[in-house]
């Protein structure tokens, strides 16, 4: 099988997010970047499928973004991915989810993968939109937010479990298919020291606009039909009202306030 894993460089979960002076960007100063945590589940799942099949399956990591995307590709290689592709071009800058999905779909198409794996969402824009758009552009079935994945012995069918309101859906797909990964799917491995050393030497293939059958006006900011108006900080909450007294008095006062002041019960 050929497995493509999509990975993205995002600010660390602990990062303090500060709005830039222009109001339409995030101040990059002091941000530490990591592989999107949900993408780690995707890399791990690709590697586990390869290890289970024990055949000529290959795992290719693909990342779109500025130079720091190379770091997450190195991480994917160190975990065990066979190849890595860095998708980057000044023409891609300022692209929205669909413009970026259009680019990634054309990067992936000639690879003819049997399975595309990605995170359920990237923890920067939290849009959860790029992967399903790629599935649509490539005409593949999709299963999103998947917590369990099985590939049939004949490698023709994937069955995915996804949580929905009130239960779990079992989605059956004919390969090739796209799956986005949820926490719980697996426990991502740490890169081994030999893996890290090997990854340093591996070539990372670069792909730009000239390598793709796309016009400049359909990618990046030019190809986007959405625009950022501005970022806002969260509205301040009024200061907390502490309720004193013994447990019974606290409880009674709380219930009264929820009823009479907040009017939520």
């Amino acid at each position: 099988m050929k497995i493509v894993v999509l990975v993205k460089s995002v600010p660390d979960t602990e990062s303090k997010i500060k709005i830039g002076a222009d109001g339409t960007s995030i101040d990059p100063q002091g941000l530490k970047f990591i592989m999107n945590p949900y993408d780690e589940f995707a890399v791990e799942e690709g590697l586990r499928i390869k290890e289970r099949l024990k055949d000529d399956t290959t795992v290719v990591a693909v990342s779109m973004g500025p130079e720091r995307a190379v770091e997450v590709l190195r991480t994917a290689l160190a975990m065990g991915a066979d190849d890595a592709i860095h998708v980057s071009d000044p023409a891609f800058e300022g692209g929205d989810a669909q413009a970026n999905a259009r680019v990634l779909a054309e990067v992936i198409r000639p690879l003819s993968p049997d399975l595309i794996l990605g995170g359920k969402q990237a923890i920067d824009y939290d849009a959860a939109q790029v992967c399903p758009a790629i599935a649509e552009y490539l005409g593949m079935p999709q299963a999103l937010i998947v917590s369990e994945l099985k590939i049939s012995d004949d490698k023709k069918v994937a069955t995915a479990r996804r949580r929905v309101e009130g239960g779990d859906e079992m989605v059956e797909m004919t390969l090739p298919a796209l799956v986005t990964c949820e926490k719980g799917l697996n426990e991502p491995r740490y890169a081994s020291l030999p893996g890290i050393m090997k990854a340093k030497k591996k070539e990372i293939k670069k792909v730009g606009l000239a390598d793709l059958p796309l016009k400049a006006e359909s990618v990046g900011a030019a190809g986007s039909k959405t625009k950022v108006v501005k970022y806002h900080n969260l509205p301040e909450r009024p200061p907390v009202k502490m309720i004193a007294g013994d447990a019974a008095a606290q409880a009674a006062e709380l219930v009264r306030l929820l009823r009479e002041e907040a009017k939520v019960i």
Partner: protein, 330 residues
């Protein structure tokens, strides 16, 4: 030129989902600002659509677009996107609204790519501004809010539950049949089975009231006191990552960055210190109550009401006080 707002009417277990009423209210708000008439799209096989049709027609909308096809008996991203595209064409809508539910998220992203429409997911605010959709949505795990505007021909958005008050009934919408063509090979994946895990309670992402417990609950058994309080409130029980990692509750109950992002009108954080990973999952809640024995717990800085003390004493007293309140108001 495209005009009007089409609400995707999600059908689950044979009935129109409650969030459809909230979406109709959101659409009415856009309509009043000049976005055109409001209609609903129902997608599915004949049985699915017919089951939801009376409830959809009773909402204050002009038209219900019924997109039926035998191949749509079970959900498929591909098949439903094809049918919805036909409904969008039939209605000539400029705006399409979805609930930010499991299905709404799946279908909206697929349909947007298919229709070359713009999509804003998980919106918490939306307005009609100069002939275009303008929204606010939390980004960076809810640490900041991003305001965006669309310039697309068809503009889609998914909206979180509990943002708009549900629209009332009183409509008698016309029904417009939508012809759906599905060819062999168009649908290559579909839902084969739904495994029930529900306890009959509302899902966390849709709940109006949530009672969540942290590691201070000390055992899975002790979650019973939260169950009892939730019962008295009609609430759904959640848990912090610490409680889930300790094995006190399943991951399906986890609220936070690696769990569910929730948006209730009332949220109780019981024995939860308030790590950033938890806060990003619940801080858009309208009213937050924190119960913790540590008066310096960070959760108190995000709460509206704070109670310092032993949760094992306070929680049963709250349950008692709630029951007393119900008894006196009936």
């Amino acid at each position: 030129m495209a005009n009007g707002i089409l609400v995707y009417g999600e059908v689950r277990d044979g009935s129109l989902k409650a969030i459809t009423k909230e979406l109709v209210a959101a659409a009415a708000h856009l309509s009043q600002a000049g976005a055109g008439p409001v209609s609903i799209a129902l997608v599915g096989d004949a049985a699915t659509v017919d089951a939801a049709l009376p409830a959809a027609r009773a909402l204050p909308v002009a038209t219900v677009y019924a997109a039926r096809h035998a191949e749509l008996a079970s959900y498929s991203s591909q098949g439903y996107a094809i049918a919805l595209q036909a409904a969008i064409k039939a209605s000539d809508a400029k705006v399409v609204l979805f609930g930010a539910t499991a299905l709404g998220r799946d279908l909206s992203a697929r349909a947007a790519a298919r229709c070359d429409a713009s999509l804003f997911t998980d919106c918490t605010e939306l307005v009609w501004s100069g002939g275009n959709l303008r929204v606010k949505r939390p980004v960076y795990s809810g640490k900041v809010i991003l305001e965006l505007e669309s310039t697309a021909g068809v503009q889609m958005a998914s909206i979180r539950p509990n943002i708009f008050a549900p629209a009332g009934a009183g409509g008698s919408a016309e029904v417009a049949e939508v012809a759906v063509t599905i060819a062999d090979g168009d649908i290559r994946g579909r839902v084969k089975e739904i495994v029930r895990t529900s306890t009959g309670k509302k899902d966390l992402t849709e709940a109006e009231i949530i009672v969540s417990g942290g590691r201070s609950l000390k055992s899975p058994d002790n979650f019973k006191i939260l169950d009892e309080m939730a019962e008295a409130l009609g609430a759904t029980v959640g848990a912090s990552r610490a409680a889930v990692d300790a094995g006190y509750a399943p991951h399906s109950m986890q609220v936070g960055q690696t769990g569910k992002v929730v948006n209730p009108k009332l949220y109780f954080a019981v024995g939860i210190s308030g790590a950033i990973q938890h806060l990003v999952g619940m801080r858009t809640s309208k009213v937050i109550v924190a119960v913790n024995k540590d008066e310096n717990a960070p959760i108190f800085q995000k709460a509206d009401y704070g109670l310092v003390g032993d949760l094992f004493e306070i929680v049963p007293k709250i349950t008692e006080a709630l029951k007393k309140l119900h008894a006196s108001s009936h």
